[in-house]
Each structure stands twice: as C-alpha cells, then as structure tokens.
Symmetry: C2
Subunit: 167 residues, 2 copies
C-alpha cells in the first residue's frame, strides 16, 4: 500500500497536469478609474473540438472520510475542468499522468496554499474532489456539449490518503 | 438630482438586464458518490458572433467613495459579463435599459442579498463595479477576442448614490 504524502502545489510541479489558478504572477490591469485591479485571464478553458461550450457551476462538497483508499480515477477527454475555492482553506488535489492506465506509483497528491485553484487539462487523470474538515463550495468551470466527457478506471496497485493529509 | 434607492435583487426584477447567479432554483445533480452537489450551469456565457472566447478573471476592487454622482455608464456590445463574489456581503449593481441613450430616470440600483452574483447581458448599460465598505474580490467571467467590447456614455440628467446605499 502506497501512502500518499501531499506536496505543495506550484505552477511548475503541476505543469504536466494543468494550471494553477492564482493571482501571483497574473497579468494585472488597472480599470474603473483605478479602483479595480483586473487579474486577467487566469486559466485556459478548453472545450475540445466537438462543439462543446463552457459552463460555470458551483460544487458543494462534503468532506471525504479519511483515511481513504484510492480505487478509481477519472478524466474528461473533451474538456478542461477548473476549481476555484470560495474560501481560503487549503484542499487536496490528486492527479496522475495522461497515459491509458493509472498505477498507484503514478499518483501525485498536492495540497494548495489556500489562495489557489486548479484547472485540469483535458485527459488528466484525477480523483473526484477531495474536501477535508468541513463542507465547502467551489466555482467549477467545465464543459457541456456532445460526446462522452467522463472516463473512469480502477488503479493498479493500492494507495492511501491518510487521516492528516488535509491538515 | 435623482436619488437612487437600492431595491432587492431578484431574478424577475433583473430579467431585462441579465441573470441573477444563485444556488436557489438551480439544477442540482448529486455526484462524487453523493459527497458533492453540482449546481449546474448557473448562467449563460455569451461571446457574441465575432469569434470571441470566454475568459475568467479576478477583480480586486476598492470601495467607491460615497456619496457618488453617477456620470458615466458602460456596456459590452459583444459579450456578457458575470460577477461572482468571493465573500458573503451584499453589493450594489446599477443598470439601465439597452437603448442608445441613458437618462437618470432609466437607472435601476439593486442590492444583492450576499449570496448572489450577476451576469450582465451584452449591451446592458451598467455602472463600473460598485464596492462599499472594504476591498473585495470577485470572479469575473467575460470575453476576449476581436472587436471593441466597451462603450461608455455620459448620462442625461443627474443621479446620486447616497452614503448609506450599500448598508
């Protein structure tokens, strides 16, 4: 059983899986007579080539009971998916590379710094949303349209998210 | 001088100007083994017909000094613009109908209930973002692409947002 140790989320560490959504490093444009700073175009919405369009949703998510044995990963083959937290607490992001199969050794567990969101590239394997502590809300930008946009698969081997991974 | 009195933001009262973004009344889909409720597709992103695409930004906005004399309104002819607050405080939304000119008598000042966002239809005349109290962050979904997406005009007559309008 592989024990997953969370690592800090950074743009470089996450670059194979998607984009980190954060104000640091964003293009800043002063507008509204100087009262507003526009942090411009924070991530790339990808709706594939099959006629999809982006939609904005809220995900209200209860905590995942820990410890949690990771059994299934999912991916969205025709659209990116972005998560922007509506609060300032860190959350966990579990991803794997874009190959056809996922093994326990492929998994990478990130913990955000509380001011970050993530945008999964299409085809990035990821675990369904992991919330610890208390129920939380996220703005989610993903895709609607033709085609099947959800694949799931059981991972090879076994991996565990421990009790204190979210702390 | 017309004194603008804020009225509560509701879907019906706002229907000529745009959409109210709120969880009440949204389509709810249980996902992630029941841990998550997906409030699905909360508003309509409109990027016009000129090849634009949606972008997601953060607006960090300082308070507008009150009282404020309304002089200029703006509109975006080729794209909708949505504001989703990252906190739970009410904010003010000043709009007018879609005609070619705006008079003080056309203005409607709304106050949100703290759990709402707004999505302006393209061509809806609106005031630049009005924040009272303290600096606040909003997720803003609007449009990038070819064409001029900003018009401004001076209003006819005069109107005032009073000191206590945000309270």
């Amino acid at each position: 059983m592989r024990i997953l140790e969370p690592v800090p989320l950074t743009r470089s560490a996450f670059s194979a899986f998607g984009e980190v959504i954060e104000l640091e490093g964003a293009r800043k444009i002063p507008i509204n007579r100087g009262l507003t700073t526009r942090y411009h175009d924070l991530f790339t919405i990808d709706c594939g080539a099959e006629g999809g369009h982006p939609i904005v949703n809220v995900f209200r998510t209860d905590p995942l009971p820990l410890p949690h044995r990771v059994e299934v990963m999912e991916r969205h083959p025709v659209g990116s998916q972005a998560f922007l937290p509506l609060d300032q607490d860190p959350f966990l992001v579990l991803v794997a590379s874009q190959g056809d199969t996922v093994s326990a050794e492929d998994l990478v567990l990130f913990r955000t710094n509380g001011r970050q969101g993530v945008n999964f590239y299409r085809n990035t394997w990821h675990h369904f949303q992991i919330v610890t502590g208390q129920r939380r809300d996220f703005i989610v930008v993903d895709r609607a349209g033709p085609g099947d946009n959800l694949e799931e698969q059981s991972i090879r081997g076994s991996a565990l998210i421990e009790d204190d991974a979210g702390a």
